[in-house]
């Protein structure tokens, strides 16, 4: 079985690596962009990458607990998005900006 075959025989490894890649993109989104909204979206990306990993292992183990956990993660992500957006709105109201580079009131 050569490398190509391995590449095309879809299994657990593929999904995990995909999750990893999405997670990495999320991280880079958080620290490379200056807009708070993009940062929030990147966080959603990372959460989804985690979910993908959970579901992959659930599929591999035939275990529903992974899916249940992923469900909880979605709920948490929803709460996080609500609060995060509220904060962004509040920030914008006060500072007229969502620019993370300018939010330096508490910064040394």
């Amino acid at each position: 079985m050569d490398f190509l075959t391995a590449l095309m025989t879809i299994g657990l490894n593929h999904f995990l690596v995909l999750g990893l890649v999405i997670f990495g993109i999320g991280i880079m989104g958080v620290f490379l962009r200056r807009n708070a909204l993009i940062t929030l979206m990147s966080i959603e990306l990372m959460l989804n990458a985690g979910n993908l990993t959970l579901l992959s292992f659930a599929r591999a183990q035939h275990d529903m607990r992974g899916q249940a956990l992923a469900f909880l993660v979605i709920a948490v992500a929803a709460a996080e998005a609500a609060i995060g957006l509220a904060i962004v709105v509040g920030l914008f109201r006060n500072r007229k900006s969502t620019d993370l580079d300018e939010l330096n009131l508490l910064r040394f």
């Binding site: 991280i27 958080v30 620290f31 993370l100 330096n104 508490l106 910064r107 040394f108």
Partner: protein, 769 residues
């Protein structure tokens, strides 16, 4: 032979009186206060007399009355037991009688003298407290118990000197007395400690049999006993005002005059003499360095204080220096082995010096508190009782036959003259000569001091009681004889000053008298010798003894004559002329040899300065600064540098997390092969064993390629590390470079020992023969 007797009553009665007067005295009237005070002391005196009677009558010479007033020991700590015990033997009997009866007289005197004092009760409370403490001092059966009284009288002295505390001067004088005495107590305390260390007991009765222990050499070539004696004597110097700790006594005259009479003349200041006599076994130990020290200090103090006394103008100052001087006499007595003479002088001195002070009090009472003798004169006609009793005291202190001072002083002079000091190294002729001359030196110094004594006492007498009055009219108008409660003690003491010497007449004088009379005239000696203290040294030959007596008397009369010629009928022109012609000497004496100034310069000021420097510099800057500034400064320095990492930039935090994760991954995966290419080589002939990873790399984790001969081609490929490592048998001798490549198949990281970046700590190579 001991007998139990409730001796505690003697000390307890005055204490009770003190407690009553101090706690409730302000509510009681003066009459009740004086009744309590005098009654307590009178009770103590009666109990004491009864006890002494029992002691003298029922018990043998060495017998003593004892009393353990607590059931348990006073202090118990490990092997240290200090009993709260009192004892009355013939030596303490003398002291107890002196203390109680003279205290009683002075209490009575004080009821008159302090009549108008608002703090009447407090005064008598202190006075009773003092009497009780003094009795503890003389009755204590061990050094610590004595020390309790010793400190107690020090406290009372402090309180009474500063009795009129509203004046800072008095308070300062009291403090000075206490602190100087504390310096002495430092020595006393160390003496007690050293004695206990050496003997394991501090009880007088148990000490005698152990004294041989003290003969062992201890420190700086001197025997242990010498050091005990020196330490104890430092205490005595403080309490009995000897050089160099005498400075407090003249200042102590700031207290009320009865206090000066009781504490600073008759009783407390003689405690040092008592302690030396009490512990004479320690001072007697040969070589007699301790004795030489005691008598030498005493002689020099006697002369120095007497010379200062010559020029003083304050009535009580003159008497104070006289006291210091007389205490010096006593120390020469006890220091040269003439204990009987020393103790007897203590007794006679208690009579006449208490009387002198009370007389001074009487005079100052009449003068409205004025103490400057240049402002007095001609008082004799206004206050005859005071004058004539004072006359008797002056004769007694000058040592005129047959007054008490004659016998006691003469005994001291004779004892000093005849004393023998023994030193360890007698081979040195110069030293031996000096030692032989030492008694003569003592005698000479004392004789000179006696001359001065006679002179200044009679100068005082003439200036005060004869001539014409030199004070203001108002004062002259006010002059009167003192009330009977003041004159009565004066008369009683005067009788004592005349008669008390008669129980200590030298044998050479009583020779040939009837047996019963001899028994009386030698009573004092028989009372103390030989059971309590050793016999005094006596000059060889009656002629010499008579000669010494005559010499002393002539000297005294010469002093009186000189005083009379200069001061009879007021301060004569001649006296002024002498003063002017000897101006530098006068200034020196007038300023008391500048000793106070010297102490101030050498001790007090440096100490104050040191205290300030320690506080402001050592404590505030170095110690406190060191701990509270340097530590926080380090933390602050670290914090200001590291808080940049915690700057609140979340993006940066995330980068830090990612970088950290990457670093952990990088280092952990890289480290393993790196360790894996390090190894140790052992040889067995031509077989070379190679252990890689040094136990830090898990077996079977890495795969290796090994080039054993350094030719660039790997001899072994894809091998794993076994328990014992690798081995290779070389075919021929030589030095070979070994190259190892470690590979982590999981993380796909490889490392070679030839790698220039991460080479092994030392290149692997082997030399085989």
């Amino acid at each position: 032979m001991t007998q139990n007797y409730p001796l505690y009553l003697i000390a307890l009665l005055p204490f009770l009186g003190a407690a009553l007067n101090l706690l409730f005295g302000r509510r009681l009237g003066n009459g009740i206060v004086s009744l309590i005070a005098c009654g307590a002391v009178a009770g103590a005196a009666l109990v004491a007399t009864k006890a002494v009677w029992i002691l003298g009558h029922d018990l043998p010479t060495k017998g003593m009355l004892v009393d353990q007033f607590f059931e348990k020991d006073w202090i118990t700590a490990g092997d240290l037991h200090v009993a709260a015990g009192l004892m009355l033997d013939r030596l303490s009997a003398v002291m107890v009688l002196i203390v109680t009866w003279i205290a009683l007289l002075i209490h009575i005197y004080a009821t008159g003298y302090m009549e108008h004092e608002p703090d009447y009760a407090r005064f008598f409370g202190y006075l009773n407290l003092f009497t009780g403490s003094m009795l503890i001092l003389v009755l204590g059966d061990s050094l610590p118990v004595t020390f309790v009284g010793w400190e107690g009288v020090g406290l009372c002295s402090y309180l009474l000197i500063g009795f009129w505390y509203q004046e800072d001067k008095n308070a300062t004088a009291g403090r000075k007395a206490f602190i100087v005495n504390r310096v002495g107590d430092f020595g006393f305390l160390l003496g007690i400690c050293l004695l206990w260390t050496l003997l394991g007991t501090v009880k007088y009765a148990e000490m005698g049999s152990l004294l041989n222990e003290l003969r062992r050499p201890f420190w700086m070539g001197w025997p242990a006993g010498y050091w005990v004696a020196v330490f104890l004597f430092i205490g005595c110097m403080g309490k009995s005002a000897q050089i160099p700790l005498y400075v407090w006594l003249p200042d102590a005259m700031a207290g009320p005059t009865p206090v000066s009479a009781l504490i600073h003349a008759a009783t407390m200041v003689t405690a040092g003499v008592y302690v030396v006599a009490r512990t004479h076994g320690i001072f007697d130990i040969t070589p007699s360095a301790a004795q030489m020290l005691v008598s030498g200090i005493g002689a020099i103090t006697a002369l120095m204080a007497a010379t200062i006394g010559i020029v003083q103008r304050d009535f009580k100052k003159v008497l104070a220096y006289s006291t210091v001087s007389q205490l010096g006499f006593m120390f020469v007595g006890v220091g040269s082995g003439a204990y009987v003479a020393g103790i007897m002088h203590l007794m006679t001195h208690a009579f006449f010096k208490a009387g002198l002070f009370l007389g001074a009090g009487s005079v100052m009472h009449a003068m409205g508190g004025e103490g400057d003798i240049t402002k007095m004169g001609g008082l004799g006609k206004h206050m005859p009782i005071t004058r004539w009793t004072f006359f008797v005291y002056c004769l007694a202190i000058a040592g005129i036959f047959p007054f008490a001072g004659f016998f006691s002083k003469d005994a001291i002079l004779a004892g000093a003259f005849a004393s023998k000091f023994v030193m360890a190294d007698t081979a040195n002729p110069t030293q031996q000569m000096l030692i032989n001359l030492y008694p003569k030196f003592l005698w000479g110094t004392l004789t000179l001091a006696a001359f001065c004594t006679a002179f200044y006492m009679w100068r005082l007498y003439f200036m005060v009681f004869t001539g014409t009055f030199r004070g203001t009219h108002e004062q002259e108008h006010h002059l009167h004889e003192s009330p009977p409660e003041m004159t009565l003690p004066l008369v009683v003491l005067a009788v004592g000053a005349v008669l008390s010497g008669l129980i200590g007449v030298p044998a050479v004088m009583s020779h040939g008298l009837p047996e019963s009379v001899q028994h009386f005239t030698g009573f004092f000696e028989h009372w103390l010798v030989p059971a309590i203290v050793p016999a005094s040294p006596e000059p060889h030959g009656h002629a010499l003894e008579w000669g010494l007596m005559a010499g002393a008397t002539i000297i005294s009369i010469a002093g009186i004559g000189l005083a009379a010629s200069l001061y009879r009928g007021g301060i004569s022109k001649a006296a002024e002329n002498v003063k002017n012609s000897l101006q530098p000497v006068y200034a020196l004496l007038w300023n008391k040899y500048f000793v106070d100034e010297l102490y101030d310069l050498v001790l007090v000021r440096p100490l104050k300065m040191l205290a300030r420097v320690l506080w402001r510099v050592a404590d505030a800057v170095i110690v406190d600064g060191g701990l509270t500034k340097v530590g926080p400064a380090l933390v602050g320095w670290f914090g200001t540098r590291t808080r940049r990492l915690q700057n609140g930039d979340v993006q940066r935090y995330l980068i830090a997390v990612v970088l950290g994760a990457a670093a952990v991954l990088f280092l952990s995966t890289f480290w393993l092969p790196y360790r894996g290419v390090q190894g140790s080589i052992t040889k067995e002939g031509r077989r070379v064993n190679l252990v890689l990873g040094e136990g830090k790399v898990p077996n079977n984790r890495l795969v290796y390629r090994i080039d054993w001969d350094g030719d660039g081609k790997f001899d072994e490929e894809n091998v794993r590390h076994a328990e014992k490592g690798f081995f290779h048998d070389y075919q021929n001798a030589g030095t070979f470079r070994i190259v190892v490549e470690a590979h982590d198949p999981d993380w796909h990281v490889g490392k070679s020992s030839a790698d220039w970046i991460l080479g092994a700590r030392k290149p692997l190579s082997v030399t085989v023969e």
